[in-house]
């Protein structure tokens, strides 16, 4: 059967389609979301309202969006550095948890008398924790040529189990009625709030700073250039004399540090303690964010905003409308699916066949 249209390869990737594609994917996701609400017996407009209007009607709402964006931006910016270099770090979630453990471990040391600078130690420890976790992946690949996709992914579960052990065992709050959680951190170890009336904290500023720094690194830094060359043409990187090992370690350590800070900022921010489920999958959602944001720090900030809306909208759909909160996951999946489909048009264009055209 002949379709009435054909895909024709473009001479060069379309620069417009590169940025139009995520927007089209978002539109298709919203349309699908409306359809889904219709099938669930709700007004399709409720889907729009609950995901895109309600979270943004108050300052507090904006704060929540910023708060949810924070770990997404941090993780996705780090992942973008890796993905640009063709290093497939899938384990930002594990590095985030390792950062939460390290940052949380330091935060638990704070006393009532600790100074305001204590949170700096928490953040530094979180970065070091995430970095150490990513270093495991880097070392295994560097030393044994282990596949970083598998290693980083499986280390996620190791980190989850380590956290689970800590909050069920040595770090369990004696006054916590047996719940798997640590004591609440002292206020000196908590992320300072940026804006009164919201829960937006220092982590958000760090995330924006990280995005700006990554942009500078990729656009103007020599190491950023090396990462890009290594990702696009590894043989050209060897030709230029860029060290593959240095690129591997740089990308993974930077990515791990950023994910670690995300974990620390969650534990010492909105959560305020270590619990066995510190992240609702931010590290995995960040993979989608990185690609929707075109591996570009500015794009990632925008994509994180949308993804944060999905998280909040999912919660609102549950609390207001009694719909399952797994809608968030459905939306995330749809967005990635549509993005991959729309990306076809970056390298191809659609040509309609002439009606009744004879085969030459």
């Amino acid at each position: 059967m002949k379709l009435p249209f054909a895909l024709v390869p473009r001479a060069a990737p379309s620069p417009i389609a590169v940025w139009l594609s995520p927007l089209a994917a978002l539109a298709a996701t919203v349309a699908c979301g409306m359809l889904l609400f219709g099938l669930l017996g709700r007004s399709p407009w409720q889907a729009v309202a609950v995901f895109f209007v309600e979270p943004l009607v108050s300052l507090r709402g904006w704060g929540e969006v910023g708060l949810k964006s924070t770990p997404l931006v941090l993780c996705a910016v780090g992942l973008a550095l890796c993905f640009r270099a063709n290093i497939w770090n899938i384990g930002a979630e594990g590095q985030l948890i390792a950062g939460a453990i390290a940052g949380g471990g330091v935060a638990l040391l704070a006393t009532k008398d600790s100074g305001g600078a204590f949170v700096g130690a928490v953040i530094a420890a979180a970065a070091a924790g995430g970095m150490a976790w990513a270093a495991l992946t880097a070392w295994l690949r560097d030393r044994f040529h282990a596949n970083e996709i598998l290693v980083s992914l499986m280390l996620v579960y190791v980190a989850q189990l380590l956290l689970s052990y800590l909050v069920h065992g040595p770090w369990k709050d004696p006054a916590g009625y047996g719940f798997p959680q640590s004591p609440l951190f002292e206020s000196a170890a908590r992320m300072p709030i940026l804006m009164a009336g919201t829960r937006l904290n220092l982590g958000f500023a760090l995330a924006l700073f990280a995005a700006a720094a990554a942009w500078l690194l990729l656009a103007r830094g020599f190491i950023g250039f090396q990462l890009r060359v290594a990702g696009l043409a590894p043989q050209a990187a060897r030709y230029a004399g860029f060290s593959e090992r240095r690129i591997l370690w740089t990308a993974l350590l930077a990515s791990g540090a950023l994910a670690g800070i995300a974990g620390g900022a969650e534990a010492a921010g909105p959560v305020g303690q270590l619990t066995s489920s510190i992240s609702p999958g931010y590290g995995f959602a960040a993979i989608i964010v990185a690609f929707v944001g075109r591996l570009h720090p500015a794009g990632i900030v925008g994509a994180s905003f949308v993804m944060a809306l999905f998280y909040i909208g999912g919660e609102l759909a549950q609390s207001r409308l009694g719909l399952p909160s797994s809608l968030t996951g459905v939306y995330q999946g749809l967005l990635l699916l549509f993005l991959l489909a729309c990306d076809t048009f970056v390298h191809n264009r659609l040509r309609w066949r002439r009606i009744g055209a004879a085969a030459f």
């Binding site: 001479a11 060069a12 043409a233 030459f360």
Partner: protein
């Protein structure tokens, strides 16, 4: 008599270019028909149309007098059309025999295919180990697989796209003998080439293409090489500058370099300032290992290499560039340049003065790229054009220019004009000669013997990982070098003058 294949007004348009513009062509059974044209003249597109890999936008095709639609490679095979590609269509991770089996219409067992393959290899003198994986094969060996695969399908029309570029002169002659035999059996052969002497030797008729159009169909045996060249490029062929200055002191010394690990044969030579030393040989005979060892992409054991008396041990490509040793790799895209990046960014690839304190210098990158574009006549929109958008010849001019512009003390060039049009090839050769006059030591690795004889002062041959002595080009004939390519130089070397 009706032709085996007849094309009438076939056109094909690509997004940026009209690749074929109303092309008509006839090939008779038993005829060897050459298609001559520069790179980008539309020869390959036309052949892909005949092989069913590309659909024409317009025109008619007749095979054995019947109008046909060749809407895929299967349809072409069913008609009896087989093609040997210039860019090989082989699966790197499969063995030779597996690749061949994939192309056969019937589902034969691998053992059967292997037997047929060995028989064909012996019959046509194209030996190959059928159990090797394609990624281990040299370019020359890969092409041998392509030719064998095409012949196994017992075609009625055989298309060969630039088949001789990777063969020794002797192997070219044996291929020609094979082709003449096949043609005598009634096979129609389409032979794509830009080598004028070969076309005059082998072809019964020659269709000449320029910029997508047929400009003439001639009997090549009645034409001179000069008249064919004029038809092909539409003007006078460019001249290579004469050069004759004595070489200077030794610059790059290679002493006991073992390319095949500890057990491999040792390679020795000395490259002098102000000379061009050629390395002839079919690719896959150790050239890649030699060149990566010299450029520092592969680290070699031993203190075998020194530049101006300074050992290069443990130095990577960047450190070697700092000492003045530069390199132009064989592959333009993905090795010598990053196709997705702009020319300015590609200037930074080996432009060690274009970044400072961890930051790149966009202004300096652009200026450098513009200088190269201007001095080496790189036809492109400017420094912000992406490398992939340039034609092969222009990108090669840019890469060679980039290395020359950095004033190297020694330059290694691997296949300087592979797949490059005549004009760009002449420009590149002249640039190398000019660089030599400024005292640079130049090592040129090439499969094109004509090119080496044109520009080199001395020449050596690489075969099976070993290197022959270097001899002055004036003291040696192309035939001798051809014999050396098979590894037989011991007897000749002393007589030809030996190493300097």
């Amino acid at each position: 008599m009706q032709p085996r294949l007849s094309l009438r007004s076939v056109s094909k348009r690509y997004p940026a270019v009209l690749a074929n513009d109303a092309v008509s062509l006839e090939v008779a059974a038993g005829e060897i028909h050459a298609v001559l044209g520069e790179n980008g003249a539309g020869k390959s597109t036309l052949m892909k149309i005949v092989a069913g890999e590309v659909q024409p936008d317009d025109g008619e095709i007749e095979f054995d007098g019947r109008a046909v639609t060749i809407d895929g490679p299967q349809a072409a095979r069913a008609l009896g059309i087989a093609m040997v590609h210039q860019h090989f269509a082989l699966f790197d991770t499969l063995t030779v025999v597996e690749n061949v089996a994939l192309g056969l219409p019937r589902s034969a067992s691998l053992a059967d295919v292997q037997r047929d393959l060995d028989a064909a290899a012996a019959r046509y003198g194209l030996t190959i180990d059928a159990q090797r994986r394609v990624h281990d094969l040299s370019i020359g060996e890969r092409q041998r697989v392509e030719i064998l695969r095409a012949l196994l399908a017992r075609p009625r029309l055989l298309i060969l796209d630039e088949p001789t570029s990777v063969l020794t002169p002797q192997a070219v002659q044996s291929l020609f003998a094979t082709l003449r035999g096949l043609a005598a059996d009634g096979l129609a052969v389409l032979f794509i080439s830009h080598k004028l002497d070969e076309i005059r030797q082998i072809a019964d008729r020659c269709t000449i293409m320029r910029a997508g159009r047929v400009v003439a169909t001639v009997d090549p045996k009645r034409e001179s090489e000069a008249s064919l060249a004029r038809l092909m490029i539409g003007g006078q062929p460019p001249q290579i500058a004469a050069h004759d200055t004595p070489p200077g002191p030794p610059r790059l010394t290679v002493d006991g370099l073992r390319l095949g690990g500890k057990g491999g044969a040792a390679v020795d030579f000395t490259l002098h300032a102000g000379e061009i030393l050629g390395v002839a040989g079919i690719s896959g005979n150790g050239q890649r290992a030699l060149v990566s060892a010299l450029a520092g992409e592969a680290q070699v054991d031993a203190d075998a290499l020194s530049l101006d008396g300074r050992p290069l041990r443990g130095l990577g490509p960047r450190e070697r560039r700092a000492l003045g040793l530069r390199y132009v790799p064989e592959e333009r895209l993905r090795h010598g340049a990053v196709p997705e990046m702009t020319l300015a960014e590609n200037a930074l690839l080996t432009g060690d003065s274009l970044h400072r304190r961890g930051f790149v210098l966009p202004g300096a990158m652009r200026d450098f790229a513009r200088r190269v574009i201007e001095r080496f006549d790189v036809r492109c929109p400017g420094a912000e054009a992406v490398a992939a958008s340039l034609s092969g010849g222009n990108l090669q001019k840019f890469i060679v220019g980039r290395e020359i512009e950095s004033a190297p003390r020694a330059l290694i060039v691997d296949q300087p004009t592979w797949g490059v049009d005549v004009g760009a090839a002449a420009a590149i050769r002249n640039a190398l000669i000019a660089l030599r006059a400024r005292g640079c030591a130049i090592l040129v690795v090439s499969e094109e013997l004509d090119e080496l004889f044109q520009i080199c002062d001395r020449i050596m041959v690489m075969a099976r990982g070993r290197l022959s002595p270097a001899v002055p080009v004036r003291a040696v004939s192309i035939e001798t070098i051809g014999r050396w390519m098979a590894g037989l130089w011991e007897a000749d070397a002393a007589a030809a003058g030996g190493a300097r």
